[in-house]
């Protein structure tokens, strides 16, 4: 069945096109249009910042930036997987009328979320300027961390998109996973604050590794530890392979399940 992989590779050029259409559909009928992709995270980050910085007084240096960086990383993951979840079900008429590689909607959801991420990073930059925060030079490694996160998003987007056609339950389960994940990821606390038993389990979460690496390179001027990198690359590769296998199993029949 290499043909599915070949098909995915051949269509890589049109994913960006498709992602742009997705954004257009997302902001349809809104007065401000694409401006929302900038305003929405600005307002949202402001709200989360006010809530968490007044309610949780942890002794974390540069807490505003620490918090917002974590939120931006997590929202990238949340946006990508949520868009992927409904990417096929929202296109039932297209799927029952023409054949095209079924990987396109799920993967382009990842690209859409990457475009949204660019806007959120701009908002983060505004906050950095407002707090007169000067990031360390290792911030140049942040794109690598986010690229690894994009791979994770692809790996989860593909199976989510087909599973949600077959089992509508996927949507509800994934909503719960995302809410739990927000609290189980060191976004408004530090990982070391957790009891060791919990840390031992949570260290396998790829999002814990991603957010930790982002904190390291942006705030502490440190290279992520070899352990962290290995855990992250290992778990994300495993998830992506499993995700691809699930996708391959269900993709041929999705038009019939619509």
């Amino acid at each position: 069945m290499t043909s599915i992989r070949e098909e995915m590779w051949k269509t890589r050029g049109i994913l960006f096109n498709f992602a742009v259409y997705d954004l257009k559909i997302r902001y349809r009928n809104s007065v401000l249009g694409v401006l929302w992709s900038f305003i929405e995270p600005l307002l949202l980050l402001a709200v989360l910042f006010v809530v968490f910085s007044t309610m949780f007084k942890f002794e974390i240096p540069n807490f505003p930036i620490y918090l917002l960086l974590g939120i931006v990383c997590y929202r990238f993951f949340q946006n990508g997987t949520t868009l992927a979840l409904n990417s096929l079900t929202n296109r039932s008429s297209t799927i029952t009328q023409i054949y095209f590689p079924r990987s396109i909607p799920g993967l382009s959801a990842g690209i859409t979320s990457a475009i949204m991420l660019v806007f959120e990073l701009m908002v983060l930059g505004i906050f950095m300027a407002a707090f007169q925060f000067i990031p360390t030079v290792t911030i140049l490694l942040l794109p690598l961390v986010l690229a690894l996160e994009l791979l994770l998003i692809f790996g989860i987007a593909l199976p989510l998109s087909v599973l949600n056609v077959k089992f509508k339950d996927t949507e509800f389960i994934w909503g719960v996973v995302l809410s739990a994940g927000f609290f189980l990821t060191p976004i408004f606390y530090q990982f070391d604050m957790l009891p060791e038993a919990i840390r031992n389990v949570l260290q396998f979460s790829p999002m814990v590794q991603i957010v930790t690496m982002a904190h390291h390179v942006v705030l502490y001027g440190m290279l992520p530890s070899v352990n962290t990198v290995l855990y992250a690359v290992g778990s994300i590769s495993a998830i992506t392979v499993i995700g691809y296998l699930i996708f391959r199993k269900y993709q041929a029949k999705i038009a019939e399940d619509m």
Partner: protein, 260 residues
């Protein structure tokens, strides 16, 4: 290998039909907990084989629910068959249920791009033809209107214009003449005939026997998922009409046009 444009060999396809008979509150509550659902196997297509030559217009007729659309979807790769094979030479464009996979929230022109890109055409090639497509569909005023505001006829015109102007090797048309005015129908027929002259294959499904008998070279009558008859339009239409006459109970009104 054969020099057929489309070669369908022994295609079979089953569907599982689920029935949920929950008449009382108790039953729906019980049904919620026991995941057992009544299901039934529907043999949509049973060992169907046929060939379409280059430059041939191939008609398919049959009652509703006898497998015509399923067959077209299998040829277009939308469904995969349980057994059998489909061999297609060149690029296929299907116009099924009056659309080409259009998204209601995108404008006409965006949909032309999206559908043809998804079908594997290059963006630059479509850019060259986009204006012609809109002009052919007679939708110049509506190029930037969202598809959801289109009538069925407008949507079909756009789908047909896109499908012929991207120049596929094989064209599949399902009931495209059910909507649209006389002028546009004539334009469609002219285009189909020019496709035929250029050696392209056309598979054509209709409930209206007039265009079937007028344009098709060969007609297949699909009877309850099986091949009822493959032959000249007259032979196949006669077989279909005989079948309907023998089974008045399944088709009391007769969905066949009386003009033949």
């Amino acid at each position: 290998m054969s020099d057929y444009a489309v070669s369908v060999k022994n295609i079979s396809k089953k569907f599982k039909l689920f029935h949920e008979k929950r008449d009382s509150i108790y039953e729906s509550a019980a049904g919620f907990f026991q995941k057992k659902r009544h299901s039934e196997i529907l043999q949509a297509l049973d060992d169907v084989s046929f060939n379409v030559k280059h430059g041939e217009i191939f008609g398919i007729i049959g009652r509703n629910g006898d497998g015509k659309t399923t067959l077209l979807r299998i040829i277009s790769k939308i469904y995969s068959p349980d057994s059998g094979s489909v061999d297609v030479k060149g690029r296929v464009i299907p116009v099924l249920s009056l659309g080409l996979g259009f998204h209601p929230e995108l404008t006409a022109i965006s949909n032309v791009y999206q559908s043809s890109i998804l079908l594997g055409f290059k963006k630059e090639d479509i850019s060259k033809r986009a204006n012609d497509i809109i002009k052919f569909a007679e939708l110049e005023r509506f190029a930037d209107t969202k598809i959801k505001n289109f009538s069925a006829g407008m949507q079909m015109r756009l789908a047909f214009a896109t499908s012929v102007l991207v120049d596929p090797d094989i064209l599949i048309l399902d009931e495209v003449f059910a909507v649209g005015d006389i002028n546009f129908q004539k334009k469609c027929f002219d285009t189909i005939m020019s496709f035929k002259k250029r050696g392209k294959a056309i598979i054509f499904v209709s409930h209206d026997m007039e265009p079937i008998s007028k344009f098709c070279d060969t007609v297949m009558f699909l009877k309850e998922g099986k091949v009822g008859k493959i032959g000249s339009p007259e032979e196949s239409i006669a077989a279909f009409q005989d079948y309907l006459a023998e089974h008045p109970e399944i088709n009391p009104k007769g969905n066949i046009s009386s003009s033949v």
